[in-house]
């Protein structure tokens, strides 16, 4: 698996090196790129991107940056965190491999998300060296995430498939809006975690690809051109729009994920550090899984 990833990265690097010789943007293709701008039959991605970036993207990110933590702050103040006794039996739920993979992804996100915000609010930070450094970090820390995203997807795929429990979970929003501690239907991952799984995996891959497009700018993807009928520049515009829009979701859920593990459920973060989950926690928040484990005599 990793071999392919290395190859992928190497190809991108090589393709970018070759850009000057056969540019898709400034070479022969430039004519198509220019003609395609804002034409009736085109997707009008140029004006669309300009409009979105000029008026909306930064504000929406700001909204997410303030709104989501703000909502959680209120939640914390009004409803409060769930506290479970940590003296009960534990179950070894995440092996070392799981944890390493997760931690690599976690570190990547911890760098990628804030640096992303620095780029979005680049003018606030005055541009120049610092923002450029953040931009490069933003790209650099994509590499570890790129390496672990597939293993992570595979190791949790089974648990992340949606089922009937999730409908019920969504109907009560996982019980987070009440202070009561009654068992909530959920497997090893509840619907919220599953949602995060899919956003992190599919969204993550989308972010990697659209980000790579923007980072390398000018590599040959004839297959994609043929498939989509889009010029290189339009693909770049699409990538920029997708990267931003997907960014909203990833960032929002990332903040949620952090809030849940760090604040909403006291000590939950320990489970991904040590690998052990608390019985009480599982019993209430993942009751379906708890039953299964109980039947197997794991507790």
């Amino acid at each position: 698996m990793k071999k392919y990833l290395y190859m992928f990265i190497a190809t991108l690097a090589l393709a970018s090196a070759a850009f000057a010789v056969d540019s898709q943007i400034w070479g022969e293709m430039r004519i198509q790129n220019i003609l395609g701008y804002g034409q009736e039959e085109s997707l009008k991605l140029g004006p669309l991107f300009t409009m979105l970036q000029h008026h909306y993207f930064a504000w929406i990110f700001l909204g997410i940056l303030i709104g989501v933590p703000g909502a959680f702050f209120l939640h914390y103040k009004i409803i409060g965190p769930k506290v479970f006794p940590h003296s009960e039996k534990k179950y070894y739920a995440f092996n070392l491999y799981n944890r390493i993979i997760h931690q690599i992804a976690a570190i990547s996100f911890i760098v990628i998300v804030p640096t992303g915000f620095v780029i979005v609010f680049g003018d606030f930070f005055g541009g120049g060296m610092f923002v450029r450094f953040c931009k490069n970090l933003h790209g650099l820390f994509t590499v570890p995430f790129t390496i672990v995203v597939i293993p992570m997807a595979l190791m949790w795929l089974k648990e992340a498939l949606f089922n009937l429990d999730d409908v019920k979970w969504f109907m009560i929003l996982g019980g987070y809006l009440s202070k009561e501690k009654k068992p909530i239907l959920a497997g090893k991952f509840n619907a919220g975690q599953k949602m995060w799984y899919w956003v992190a995996i599919l969204g993550g891959i989308t972010m990697i690809l659209s980000g790579a497009f923007m980072f390398f700018l000018d590599f040959k993807m004839e297959m994609l051109h043929n498939l989509t009928g889009m010029s290189q520049i339009d693909m770049l515009r699409a990538a920029a729009i997708i990267h931003n829009v997907m960014g909203f979701a990833v960032v929002a859920l990332f903040i949620t994920h952090v809030y849940m593990s760090m604040f909403a459920i006291k000590g939950a973060v320990q489970s991904i550090i040590t690998g052990y989950v608390e019985e009480e926690e599982v019993k209430i928040l993942h009751s379906t899984w708890y039953k299964k484990l109980k039947n197997q005599g794991k507790f």
């Binding site: 430039r30 003018d123 930070f125 120049g128």
Partner: protein, 199 residues
């Protein structure tokens, strides 16, 4: 005082794709090979009646989209309409390229992974935000001919004077003269012969 806006215009009736403008530009500003601030493009090459060429660079748009999308706000528009940017502020994100209708912003490669360096584009030979005609300005942005009262080098070197530059009013006056004299085609004696004598 209201300044007229400085504009480029390429008369495609005159442009012959000699690339004099792009070579003059690269030479004058000592650009790295692979950076084409200006480029001549030809449409429908080899097809009689449909082929024409035009020279493209930053067109110094009135509502410059690049300026609107830049996340670090490194663009500024001079009073005379020349759109410039601050290379020391630029982070090389590429957004201006996506917004630009002309593919004008160029990105040199830096480092082993091919990260984009600070954006480079046509300055209408007006340099950048640094001290005028300083060594650093020349190094980062190329010559500042406007400050010396000279025409941008591309237009100066244009072999057929297809590429015009100046305040929008004088440019449009030149084009108007060319177009109106071309339109005299209607008084072609051959046409009038057909219209009157042969009937």
């Amino acid at each position: 005082m209201e300044y007229a806006r400085m504009k480029f215009y390429c008369d495609e009736h005159r442009c012959i794709e000699c690339d004099g403008c792009s070579v003059a530009c690269a030479e004058a500003h000592e650009l790295p090979v692979g950076i084409a601030r200006r480029k001549v493009i030809t449409i429908n090459e080899g097809i009689p009646g449909k082929e024409f060429s035009t020279s493209i660079a930053c067109m110094h748009c009135t509502d410059a989209p690049c300026e609107q999308v830049c996340p670090v706000d490194c663009f500024y528009i001079r009073e005379d309409g020349i759109v410039l940017h601050d290379k020391e502020k630029c982070i090389g994100c590429g957004y201006c390229l996506y917004a630009c209708p002309f593919g004008a912003p160029q990105f040199p490669r830096e480092g082993i992974f091919g990260a984009k360096g600070a954006m480079d584009k046509c300055t209408m030979c007006a340099g950048g935000p640094l001290e005028t005609n300083s060594e650093k300005e020349r190094h980062l942005y190329g010559q500042n001919r406007i400050a010396e009262g000279k025409v941008p080098v591309c237009a100066a070197m244009c072999s057929t004077k297809a590429l015009l530059v100046g305040d929008s009013e004088s440019v449009s006056a030149i084009i108007r003269t060319r177009v109106s004299s071309r339109a005299k085609g209607a008084s072609n004696p051959l046409v009038w012969d057909k219209a009157y004598k042969n009937q």
